[in-house]
């Protein structure tokens, strides 16, 4: 069951009707205290409280998300466990082993090994993220020049060891999935904004 709530605008603007609550001074004399007690007793505020909860029960506007059966929609910029993507046409790994993610990672949890393969191409042999230290800041995805490492939407993880989620083979899109066209291009954190090509301007040469 898809459930999305439409919120009203809660931003504090000049038009919003904020006002100071009128707090009367505390009564000092016994007679004033007595009058306050009587006024509060018969003001019926307790019954307003009773009515509010009863109204909610009658309206039956239940906000519970029955989690394993229903899931809340994730925002496109959600940052869960990482994924490594492949190039669509050739199936090669997008990662060029530049090491920028390893360098920028502020919790030092990315580790990669590279070598030069037979075609004089840089190949990433090992790539791992220590999820025990990762703070999911998204810098790696943002810095990646090839959109190779991205944050996926997979937030449900269960394993005997955290390391199991982030060995390279787990993060990398399997070839058969790629051939089936099931690799999802990542619209979120660090990805190119749609229509960003139009925003590119020629560097002016006439300085």
């Amino acid at each position: 069951m898809h459930h999305e709530e439409v919120f009203t605008n809660r931003n504090v603007t000049e038009s919003s009707a904020y006002y100071y609550v009128d707090i009367e001074s505390y009564p000092t004399t016994g007679w004033d205290k007595f009058k306050q007690v009587v006024r509060r007793t018969f003001s019926g505020e307790l019954f307003i409280g009773l009515w509010v909860v009863m109204r909610e029960m009658i309206k039956f506007d239940i906000h519970t998300v029955q989690y394993p059966k229903e899931k809340l929609p994730l925002g496109p910029r959600y940052r869960a466990v990482h994924k490594l993507l492949r190039l669509w046409e050739s199936g090669y790994e997008r990662c060029i082993g530049c090491g920028l993610c390893e360098k920028i990672c502020i919790s030092d949890c990315i580790r990669m090994d590279t070598r030069i393969d037979e075609n004089s191409r840089k190949e990433v042999t090992e790539y791992s993220i220590n999820l025990g230290r990762c703070i999911f800041c998204g810098y790696c995805a943002e810095v990646c020049p090839e959109l190779a490492i991205v944050h996926g939407p997979r937030y449900e993880n269960a394993s005997e060891q955290r390391a199991h989620f982030v060995i390279k083979d787990d993060m990398l899109t399997p070839l058969d999935l790629l051939k089936a066209g099931a690799q999802e291009e990542y619209p979120g954190f660090g990805a190119i904004i749609p229509g960003s090509d139009d925003a590119v301007k020629k560097t002016p040469l006439a300085y």
Binding site: V37, G49, L50, V53, M57, F60, D61, I62, T64
Partner: protein, 329 residues
Amino acid sequence: MDVAFIIETIVKIVVILLIFSALAGLGTYFERKVLAFMQRRLGPMHVGPFGLLQIAADGIKLFTKEDIIPQNVVKPIFKIAPVITAATAFMASAAIPFWPQFTAFGYTVHPIVADINVGILYVLGVMAIGLYGPLLGGMASANKWSLISAARSAAIFISYEVITGLSLLAPLMMVGSLSLIDINNYQAGGIENWIVWSQPVAFILFWIAAFAETGRTPFHLVANDHEIIDGFGTEYSGMRWGLFFIGEYANMFFISFVIAIIFLGGFGDGTLAGAIQLILKVAFFFFFFLWTRAAWPDIRPDQLMWLCWKVLMPIAVINVVVTGIVMMF
């Protein structure tokens, strides 16, 4: 005393024990559901249809959980305290007529364990002894929160005994009997004969005091979770804690019966319609216990004492005096 009477009484006791133990479990289910709905949640949903079997799951959990006796507790008192709460709650039910008398297979059944002539006095007295459950359990627990809870429960229960007693005095003066069946029959004429119309003040006072006697939410400071954890129940686990729980919920049902019988006409003339009305009244009062828990905040112990001694008790005394003057002239 003939054998048939003894057997009949034992059967009644067993039936009441079984029904109200089960109702205590069902009461927790309804409490969770009602509170959840009032807070726009769903409550228990996963065990059984609409979470109904949650009661069974809770029961299995309570029965199979390890019964932990902590190291520094006073062991015999610690062990007996939950039994006092549950036992006094059920003992109080002995004088409550749960249903008008009916004839089954040519045998007239009185659905009351003992129709004693001091019925309401007995009920209030035994419920007052229920104080010893939280008091002894809290003092024996070797836990500061439990100790605070024990002190609070002693203060609250004893103070509000005054309110229950004084507020009931006025209707009892009108009826002239302490038996709950006599009180019921006094109002058998119909809705205009209900005591609540002639004694509205006593009704409100007794109702307020019922919240204190059962320790329900506006006066829940005996086991106020955010201040003193679970109060006297903090050190308890398993079925000993469950006995406290059953005692509390059984007390809620019994006090609802008492309010309905004394002030709202009980089962009226004793027909089936009257009996069902009694059940509906009790259901309303039980629901009100849950309703207030969702809506109202807890008050401080000093506010509770202030309410008892400076507001409710003078009103109750004035109510008794005014009733007496009206009855004299």
